[in-house]
């Protein structure tokens, strides 16, 4: 089943003993701190899980696939995630077709 913020909050309530309010706020704050760091231009390195890095992409030519009209794709900063070796090893064994489609 898909993991969401609600399941993570339940886990903190049951296993860490935070109250329901704190558990929900903690999950929200966790992702907000990661967003804040990335927004400030600082990458996030989580040992054992992976790194959230920033990439500055230059402007490049693009096309509206419907009309064929050429429009430039503007320069932008994007987030990329690089899984740790530990996480890569943990998922690579899965059999084809057993994993949820992206």
């Amino acid at each position: 089943m898909t993991l969401t913020k609600a399941e993570l909050a339940d886990l903190l309530f049951e296993k860490v003993g935070l109250n329901k309010r704190e558990a929900k706020d903690m999950v929200e704050a966790f992702f907000e701190e990661v967003r804040n760091s990335l927004e400030a231009g600082d990458s996030v390195k989580v040992s054992g899980f992976g790194n959230f890095m920033l990439r500055d992409k230059p402007q490049r030519p693009g096309r509206n696939p419907k009309t064929g009209e050429e429009i430039p794709i503007t320069a932008r900063r994007v987030v990329t995630f690089h899984a740790s070796q530990k996480l890569k090893t943990a998922v690579e064994h899965l059999k084809n077709g057993s994993a949820a489609k992206p």
């Binding site: 993991l3 993570l8 706020d25 992702f31 054992g48 987030v79 990329t80 995630f81 949820a100």
Partner: protein, 94 residues
């Protein structure tokens, strides 16, 4: 920002909790995320992004040192797609 800095920032946000709780919570969240992917399930965090698995079919690779052919078996690799809010906040050009 490293994991320990993240724990420190969360501990500051929750002064009513003992510092160990922030540490425990962060590790619990990360373990749950890794376990979910290891089971072949997805993670969907609204406003942050989603984690899923991409399939890599088997291929014949080469040992770059010896030039020998080696069969690289099929595998899954983790993939992250940033959500709308994260994408917009990170892209200062907006």
């Amino acid at each position: 920002m490293t994991k320990s800095e993240l724990i420190g920032r969360l501990a500051l946000r929750f002064p009513q909790l003992v510092a160990k709780d922030a540490d425990y919570a962060v590790n619990m969240i990360l373990d749950a995320m890794a376990d979910t992917l290891a089971r072949g399930d997805r993670i969907e965090i609204r406003g942050f992004g989603s984690f899923a698995l991409n399939y890599r079919p088997p291929r014949t690779g080469r040992n770059p040192k010896s030039g020998d052919k080696v069969l690289v078996p099929a595998k899954y690799v983790p993939h992250f797609k940033a959500g709308n809010e994260l994408r917009e906040r990170v892209d200062q050009s907006e």
